[in-house]
């Protein structure tokens, strides 16, 4: 008889009979201001990120007015329909201190990890979504989900560690299959039948964990760390199997659509836009079905290679090679790319706002953190890097504001987000990026 013992298996009379199980509400991380589902159950808090590439044209991006009812200069004119749902943060800085200003890298890495990288391959710490997922993600099938509109599996701003990147979903069809394939438990199904296979899977995991431990002991320290990470992943699988053995709470906004058609590869702005909207719709349906509470959407990479039909410079090349038009005071072709990004940001926020949930929308119970890699990409500037937030995080956040950071760390927004999501941290960031100062203007 091996180490595997049948006593390890869960006890229970689950031999395939259909039963209806009423479960207590998952009441973690709720707040007093949270709205409720139609049945009275509380709505969970969510955290999302969104990213675009290559910053802005300051003269036509930064509003003249701060506070509420700020003006919308032409580069962000597309945000009019969602202005009431967002905050715009300008004049916040990313500090490199003794690290080099790594083109298109330092900016996003600091805003996502709080730490300035030393080389262009370096990804220090872990990203904010990973920290928050550790807090919010335990009650859902996926701790977090990442998706990209670029169609490139290498595009991600989410990592657990330098060599452990959360690879994004890049194909709409594949994403759909992963979300709503065989393992999907429809929270609104009338009956619930625990799958006996899941019980076996859960129990069999202990043997695999033993294997991982045994293997780990024979390795050097760095490889041991990788095996340890694998072991952690197996524990997370165990958590997921537990969830699968319980009837999920009903979610009225969860209506699964038909499987999408896949898209060709390519970075033509129209194609990227289409892919972004398909991935956004799938992602938000996953959120509405409570498959995850932490989600990352990647519109364009830091070296964005999005193209404009008939124009010979992709976005990144354009930022450097296009002259600043003396009359306009900005780079018109480059601005075209940024405007397309803002249209997609507007779509993303609008989709969240239009997704009815309880008495409000998905956006009412979410906080979205939106960042880029540069302020003025032509010069690789990281001072005055623009950021957005969206959503009220269950009524905790005021929206519709333009906040001037007065040169304070951009990490303040990430710190604020983590505090909102319940992380018990006194400060966030490294060296000059360190902050323990929330952006109080947006707090209710």
């Amino acid at each position: 008889m091996g180490k595997f013992n049948r006593r390890r298996f869960l006890q229970g009379a689950l031999n395939g009979g259909a039963i209806t199980v009423g479960l207590p509400l998952l009441d973690v991380f709720l707040n007093d201001n949270g709205t409720a589902f139609a049945d009275g159950s509380e709505i969970p808090l969510r955290f999302g990120t969104w990213s675009w590439g290559l910053g802005m044209s300051e003269s036509i991006f930064v509003p003249k007015k701060t506070g509420p009812n700020f003006d919308l200069p032409e580069e962000i004119a597309a945000l009019a329909p969602i202005q009431e749902h967002i905050n715009l943060f300008t004049n916040f800085h990313v500090f490199k201190d003794d690290a080099p200003n790594l083109c298109h890298h330092s900016g996003w890495v600091v805003l996502r990890s709080g730490i300035a990288p030393m080389t262009s391959e370096n990804r220090p710490g872990e990203t904010i979504d990973v920290s928050i997922a550790r807090q919010l993600g335990n009650a859902t099938r996926f701790r977090s989900l990442s998706a990209t509109a670029t169609g490139d599996v290498r595009d991600s701003f989410s990592y657990e560690g330098g060599n452990s990147v959360n690879a994004p979903e890049w194909s709409p069809l594949r994403f759909y299959q992963r979300l709503f394939g065989e393992d999907f438990q429809n929270p609104n199904a009338d009956s619930f039948t625990p799958d006996p296979k899941v019980m076996v899977r859960k129990s069999a995991l202990s043997a695999v964990q033993d294997e991982a431990k045994k293997l780990e002991s024979s390795l050097g320290s760095d490889d041991r760390a990788r095996l340890d990470q694998y072991f952690t992943g197996l524990r997370d699988l165990e958590r997921r199997f537990d969830l699968q053995l319980s009837k999920p709470d009903p979610r009225e906004a969860c209506i699964v659509s038909e499987a999408p058609e896949d898209l060709p590869t390519g970075l033509d702005a129209d194609l990227v836009s289409l892919r972004h909207r398909m991935m956004t719709d799938l992602m938000l349906m996953a959120v509405a079905c409570d498959q995850t509470r932490v989600f990352n959407m990647f519109y364009a990479s830091a070296f964005s290679a999005t193209t404009q039909p008939g124009y010979d410079k992709p976005h990144h090349t354009s930022t450097h090679e296009e002259a600043v038009d003396r009359e306009l005071g900005y780079q018109p072709k480059t601005s075209w790319y940024t405007r397309r990004a803002m249209e997609e940001w507007a779509y993303y926020v609008g989709a969240l706002a239009n997704f009815k949930e309880g008495d409000g929308s998905l956006l009412d119970n979410a906080f979205i953190y939106s960042t880029t890699d540069q302020s003025f990409a032509k010069l690789h500037a990281i001072d005055g890097i623009p950021m957005f937030s969206a959503g009220t995080a269950g009524g905790r956040i005021k929206t519709g504001l333009h906040i001037d950071g007065n040169g304070t760390p951009g990490c303040r927004l990430g710190y604020t987000a983590q505090r909102l999501m319940g992380l018990d941290i006194e400060s966030w960031g490294d060296k000059s990026n360190t902050t323990s100062s929330e952006i109080g203007e947006i707090l209710v």
């Binding site: 008889m1 091996g2 390795l219 193209t307 010979d312």
Partner: protein
């Protein structure tokens, strides 16, 4: 600054010419020496690559099951020029493990479904509704041995049989039980990671060597890009792999196998950076003749050319850069402007054609261009990094790009890039990428031939490390004769075979030895593969002390063997 750079560059050119002459003249006369005494490699723990995962599933369960899943393996960070080397460092996130489990469940269910069970399960249960430990044990022992690349020990086998039995009871289905036990093996780290294990070498006191199973796996993933077959596992288990004759027999069998072709396709696909094709597309307005299938065929064309030249015809590696022989598909014929035939056909470009060697194939030209235009800088960078193992570093920090605005009157890339090559901040890199990249400007961003750009004549003269030329043929010849060309292949192959980045300090002697043999053998790939696979370095293990910091290098940290220090930074355009 510009002046000092120019002087520096000029010195470099002279030095590299001298170095090249010395290397060429020496290497042709150096007899093969004995392998350096202390040569050894590093113990690695590698995550299987996506293709290796797929090949394993195909080898054990069949192509149709492989084709029904996407490997749940994260992308690797290209490390010292190879994705394969990144596999020694990449971690697996919790999210990725959940995908590994989902894929495992799917594969396991397929293996035992009614379509496959009679072929893949070597026995029939007494009842398909009840446990059958004997039949389950037989299947799990055989399959587990192939999945784990070594025999499953009795304790683990007993656990697996118990899982199958309990699951069969719960589901009242023998095959469902078997699938759940198989699923457990497919998420095991022993399957997902290729772990090198070592043991004391009885023939060399104080030295360590790979265990027989680890050596079998290293050989197999090197030459076949897949797991060992039963014959190789048996050679490992019997100890034959640790004998000179046994290792010879095994390596010769592997070199003669049809699987060698797949293995070398995987290596060159990695070395040439062809993962770019997974997301490559061209602007349909500018290049309406280039579709997704055109680009897939371009990748295939180059791989066919390489495999045919190196393995089927056993030709000199350097001649890949001047050969006019290739293969043509209907969609590629449109781009090349040649007659179209059904399917793939052998094709030889005429002597007066500008198509000569790998650099003039659509794969190289299109992959190293923008979606809407060519890029001499990207082409020059790829030429140096892919084929010469030189590193063109990332853009310099803190650089002011405000001076790089394009001259709106510029007609050609040479005129557009002039500003980079005269600006000190940019020239460091652009002078080492652009001269040879500009020589390929007769090919547009999709790889089509053109006489002019925007109506202007193209100046395609250039220089590659001291060799000046006037046309594409001159560039092709300069590449063919570049002293780093063969060095680079040797270095990449050894890193690929041993599963991680090289160490300048520890590997210099063995790499020089491999290269001298490669030269003496007429630059033939099979001979080089044999030398590496049979070398003591390949199967011996360096002690922890001499491994230094190899195990914790950052991915993609530049590795420079005799790298000239004149390579500075610049942004690619």
């Amino acid at each position: 600054m510009l002046y000092s750079f120019a002087v520096h560059f000029s010195k470099m050119t002279s030095v590299s010419v001298l170095t090249a002459m010395l290397l060429v003249s020496c290497s042709e006369n150096v007899p093969p020496l004995a392998e350096p005494n202390q040569s050894a490699s590093v113990l690695r723990t590698r995550l299987m690559t996506g293709e290796q995962y797929g090949n394993t599933i195909a080898q054990i369960f069949g192509e149709d099951i492989r084709n029904s899943v996407l490997p749940p393996i994260p992308p690797m960070a290209r490390t010292d020029g190879l994705l394969a080397s990144g596999s020694a460092f990449v971690g697996v996130t919790s999210d990725q493990i959940s995908q590994i489990q989902q894929t495992a469940a799917f594969i396991a269910a397929k293996v035992v479904d009614e379509e496959h069970r009679d072929f893949l399960v070597p026995c029939r249960p007494e009842s398909i509704e009840e446990p059958d430990p004997n039949c389950a044990g037989l299947f799990l022992r055989e399959t587990g041995r192939l999945l784990q690349r070594q025999a499953v020990d009795d304790i683990r086998l007993s656990e697996l049989v118990d899982i199958a039995a309990y699951a069969a009871e719960q589901t009242e289905d023998f095959y469902a039980g078997l699938a759940l036990a198989l699923e457990s093996m497919l998420i095991s780290p022993e399957f997902i990671f290729i772990v090198d294990h070592s043991e004391a070498d009885p023939n060399r006191i104080g030295q360590e060597r790979l265990t027989g199973h680890s050596l079998a796996s290293r050989l197999s993933f090197f030459l076949w890009n897949g797991p060992p077959d039963i014959a190789l596992l048996e050679a490992a288990e019997s100890g034959e792999l640790h004998t000179t004759s046994g290792l010879n027999v095994a390596v010769e069998r592997m070199l003669d196998s049809v699987r060698l072709e797949g293995g070398m396709r995987a290596f060159f696909d990695d070395m040439l950076g062809f993962d770019e094709f997974n997301s490559l597309a061209k602007d349909p307005l500018v290049y309406p003749m280039v579709t997704g299938s055109t680009l897939r065929d371009a990748r295939e064309q180059t791989l066919r050319t390489i495999i045919n030249h190196l393995l089927h015809d056993t030709q000199d590696y350097r001649d890949l850069f001047v050969t006019r022989k290739t293969f043509m598909s209907p969609s590629l014929a449109v781009v090349y402007g040649t007659a179209s035939h059904q399917g793939w056909v052998a094709h030889t470009f005429p002597e007066d054609s500008p198509r000569q060697g790998l650099l003039t194939q659509v794969s190289f030209l299109a992959a190293n261009s923008h979606a809407v235009r060519s890029s001499p800088t990207l082409r020059g960078q790829a030429l140096r990094e892919r084929f010469l193992c030189q590193v063109v570093p990332s853009p310099p920090p803190n650089v002011d790009f405000s001076l790089l605005e394009e001259d709106e009157h510029a007609s050609t890339a040479r005129e557009r890039l002039e500003v980079h090559n005269t600006n000190p901040s940019c020239a460091g890199c652009h002078l080492i990428t652009d001269p040879m990249g500009l020589s390929l400007e007769n090919f547009d961003g999709a790889g089509r031939f053109r006489e002019t750009e925007s109506g202007a004549q193209l100046d395609i003269s250039g220089e590659l490390d001291g060799v000046f030329y006037d046309d594409i043929g001159g560039l092709a010849a300069a590449m063919r004769n570049h002293p780093k060309l063969s060095t680079c292949l040797v270095n990449r192959l050894y890193a690929y075979g041993t599963g991680g980045p090289l160490s300048l300090g520890n590997d210099r002697d063995i790499l020089n030895w491999f290269e001298s043999r490669f030269v003496a053998n007429g630059y033939k790939l099979p001979a080089l593969l044999r030398d590496i696979a049979l070398s003591r370095a390949f199967s011996s293990v360096r002690s922890e002390k001499t491994q230094g910091k190899l195990g914790i290098v950052e991915p993609a940290r530049p590795f420079r063997l005799a790298e000239p220090d004149w390579i500075n930074n610049a942004e690619t355009n």
